[in-house]
């Protein structure tokens, strides 16, 4: 049976997958073709969305990239009817393509099913090995043996901090309590990160299976998935997957005819970055403001409703079934001494191939950027990569040889984080990037600790001053001093790591800060107040849009004649640059 499978995760949908799906539906119905139409999750090649996989009569798989509704008819006509694949549009198939290099260095454990199975079907998941690990754990292993296995795999928490998962489970198991809880942290809040969303949308059953195994191991009967409300598709797929698992007896009473019972509920987050911190997340599930609290007691001792609670990230749970099935040693054989297994990264920014990748620990940053992502766009230079989001830092291109490994990344001043990687080129201003992240954390600070609440605000004001050309020589020392104090006096991870983007950019790009302060220039041409705007007469059509957009009436000129900017009147807001459709406004 021929199959057409459309990638329908959020990235695919935003690129128009729904319309492509409907078009296939229409054409298949019209021509009455014996073809099954299915959907799948994210295969990772976001740069080629909309992606459609076609399994033809010979059992060959062809992955079409950049499919539009207009191309659907042609694909059906040529490939499905005449059995002639349209090779120029195929990004992966039986014949080698230039996109193959995207997959060569990847190793897929967490993403083993993403983009391959239909996430709406529990049968598809079971067929791909889903719930086999649960069977093995429940019927063959004692809870202690499960924990030994996870400890032996040396899996570390994938949410960012990297605490050994098996050890954490052991704490929760040994805590005395009549009731215990398992929580899956799916409050993926880092801007520029979408690993967890892709896993939840593409393979929800693996996460659910990981949670059930965890419940068995620590002795919990209830689980919560705390998921961002901004991920409606993930929530919908999770609800559906939980209902299916209940129907098949993987959730509920007497799971697999044992006396083990486990239930999972979904809690939708309400938009607060700090709720990714475990004690704040617990407060939020309990229906309160998401303020973190002092640890100890750790959640493993006193968590949700004061009961022992184990919290892990989506990716951590998705690793568990693989570890149980393949054994701790298989997992521990991947990676470096310090970090085992694989890590999923969401790659964005100025690279040619943005998307979702899973690589073995120990791979270098350069390998990810040049081999998997095929280097930078528009022939530009790789300048830095931002890892770990607002809690992380910028690693300069010079350190591209660094291995992906918790210890090595921490040494640079960044953190592994949950897996966001934003790649920057020379057109990115590092001071502006630091300001961007600080603006984010300052907004998201819950306000409990003084230095996090006010210190980040003051730091942000200094950065704003610098990017507006009003920086002072003493500002950099002041920034460093404040950063140190915010780090030392904040209760939770948000505050303790908030200064990281500033500290790492200061460490590796101090000169760029100094150019802003002393030369009043922004080398990347980003900070508007430090730029000079001029209109290129040969490009200007005299449409007058820039003059209309100028709040300072600094632009004049006759209609249909080149306009010009009065430099002394210009307030450097950049609106003319934004308003011009002809690229006639030049900034330097």
């Amino acid at each position: 049976m021929k199959q057409v499978i459309v990638g329908m995760a959020t990235c695919g949908l935003s690129a128009g997958a729904q319309k492509v799906y409907e078009k296939f539906e229409e054409v298949i119905r019209e021509k009455n073709l014996p073809v099954t139409l299915k959907e799948t999750g994210c295969i990772g090649m976001c740069y080629r969305e909309v992606l459609v996989e076609l399994q033809d009569g010979d059992g060959q798989n062809y992955l079409y990239g950049e499919v539009t509704p207009e191309r659907v008819g042609e694909i059906v006509e040529s490939h499905l009817l005449q059995n002639k694949p349209l090779l120029p549009w195929v990004v992966r198939g039986p014949h080698p393509t230039e996109d193959d290099s995207f997959f060569v260095k990847q190793k897929r454990i967490v993403l083993r099913n993403c983009g391959h199975i239909d996430p709406n079907s529990i049968d598809a998941s079971i067929h791909a090995g889903g719930y086999h690990a649960l069977r093995k754990a429940l019927l063959e292993y004692s809870p202690e043996k499960v924990i030994d296995e996870v400890t032996g795999s040396q899996l570390r928490g994938r949410g960012g901090a990297g605490f050994p998962t098996g050890v954490k489970w052991g704490f929760a198991r040994r805590s005395a309590g009549d009731k215990k809880y398992v929580i899956c942290n799916a409050d993926e809040g880092d801007p520029g990160a979408f690993m967890d969303r892709s896993v939840l949308e593409g393979d929800p059953h693996s996460v659910i299976e990981g949670m059930i195994i965890c419940g068995y191991a620590i002795g919990a009967k209830e689980g919560y998935i705390y998921v961002r409300a901004e991920y409606p598709k993930a929530i919908q797929r999770l609800r559906q997957a939980i209902a299916q698992a209940e129907e098949r007896g993987f959730l509920g009473e007497n799971i697999l005819q044992t006396d083990f019972r486990f239930r999972i509920k979904i809690k939708e987050g309400a938009g607060a970055f700090v709720c990714g911190e475990e004690t704040a997340l617990i407060a939020s599930i309990e229906g309160r403001r998401g303020n973190p609290r002092l640890r100890p007691p750790f959640p493993a001792v006193s968590g949700l409703w004061g009961k022992p609670t184990n919290i892990n990230n989506v990716e951590t749970f998705a690793n568990i079934p693989w570890i149980i099935l393949n054994g701790a040693e298989a997992f521990a054989s991947l990676g470096t001494d310090d970090s085992k297994g694989t890590k999923v990264f969401a790659l964005t920014g100025k690279i040619k191939r943005g998307g979702l990748v899973e690589v073995p620990m120990g791979i270098t940053i350069n390998e990810i950027i040049y081999d998997i992502c095929s280097g930078m766009r528009e022939g530009k230079q790789f300048k830095a990569v931002q890892m770990g989001g607002p809690s992380g830092g910028c690693i300069p291109a010079l350190m591209g040889q660094i291995q992906i490994d918790y210890a090595q990344i921490t040494k640079t001043g960044a953190i592994m984080g949950s897996g966001g990687m934003v790649v920057m080129d020379e057109s990115t201003c590092m001071v502006d990037v630091a300001k961007f992240f600080l603006n984010f954390t300052q907004n998201e600070s819950c306000g409990k600790c003084v230095f996090c609440r006010l210190g980040t605000k003051r730091m942000l004001e200094i950065l704003e001053r610098i990017t507006e050309g009003k920086g002072k020589g003493s500002d950099l020392d002041l920034l460093e001093d404040l950063a140190q104090k915010v780090r030392e006096t904040s209760l939770c991870g948000l505050g303790q790591t908030a200064p990281n983007p500033v500290l790492t950019t200061l460490r590796y790009f101090r000169q760029e800060y100094e150019t802003h302060i002393f030369d009043r220039k922004c080398p990347a041409h980003v900070c508007s107040p430090l730029l000079t705007y001029t209109i290129l007469p040969n490009c200007c059509t005299g449409c007058g849009r820039c003059a209309k957009s100028c709040p300072a009436q600094a632009i004049s000129g006759e209609r249909k004649e080149p306009h010009f900017i009065q430099p002394e009147q210009c307030v450097k807001c950049g609106r003319c640059f934004a308003s011009c459709s002809f690229g006639a406004v030049f900034k330097d």
């Binding site: 959020t10 990235c11 949908l13 935003s14 690129a15 976001c46 740069y47 969305e49 993926e188 809040g189 880092d190 801007p191 520029g192 990160a193 979408f194 969303r197 409300a229 901004e230 991920y231 809690k267 939708e268 987050g269 309400a270 938009g271 607060a272 970055f273 939020s284 599930i285 309990e286 229906g287 309160r288 403001r289 998401g290 409703w305 969401a346 964005t348 920014g349 100025k350 943005g354 998307g355 931002q386 989001g389 966001g420 934003v422 920057m424 990115t428 990037v433 961007f436 992240f437 984010f440 819950c446 957009s549 807001c573 950049g574 609106r575 640059f577 934004a578 308003s579 011009c580 459709s581």
Partner: protein, 166 residues
């Protein structure tokens, strides 16, 4: 606004019109405050004051404390939305790809800033931290429709298409 408020006074009680009965299923369960607020917002597009009092009665938490929870989370609104909710993404990828400029264009075109609603109640503009479709950056979402790889020209065209569609 008074006429369109979704509640009426019946004696000394405030009665909410068209209240979704689904709300009730959370009754008695601890930690149900946030789901209740989310349900109220789903029904009304914001949380009317009467809903706060109503929910307070259900969960036994004082309205002032509920107000504290509402203002803590960015998802909750105390004012109604415009017909179209325009969310401009300000995630990292969008930021380095020029989302600030796109925000400015939207501001100029609509004459309102982030967090405001146009006078005709047509557009509400919000800024969000990340919509999770970074490979399409810069991105904005109008109601449920995502518009990616924006540039000033494209934004103007998109806004016009909504305005002329009414």
């Amino acid at each position: 606004m008074k006429a369109s408020e979704p509640w009426e006074r019946a004696g000394d009680k405030i009665r909410l019109q068209g209240f979704n009965l689904e709300l009730w299923k959370y009754e008695g369960e601890p930690g149900s405050l946030i789901p209740l607020l989310q349900a109220a917002q789903r029904d009304y597009s914001y949380i009317p004051e009467a809903a706060i009092h109503y929910i307070s009665d259900i969960v036994g938490i004082p309205p002032a404390q509920i107000y504290g929870v509402i203002t803590f989370y960015t998802q909750f609104r105390l004012k109604p939305l415009g017909k179209y909710l325009l969310r401009i993404c300000n995630g990292t990828a969008c930021h380095v790809n020029g989302s600030k400029l796109m925000g400015q264009v939207i501001e100029d075109e609509l004459g309102i800033g982030v967090g405001q609603t146009t006078e005709d109640g047509f557009f509400t503009v919000q800024s969000v931290a990340c919509l999770g479709c970074c490979s399409l950056s810069p991105v904005m979402v109008i109601n449920e429709d995502t518009h990616g790889r924006l540039d000033p020209r494209k934004i103007r065209k998109i806004l016009k298409s909504y305005q002329s569609a009414g």
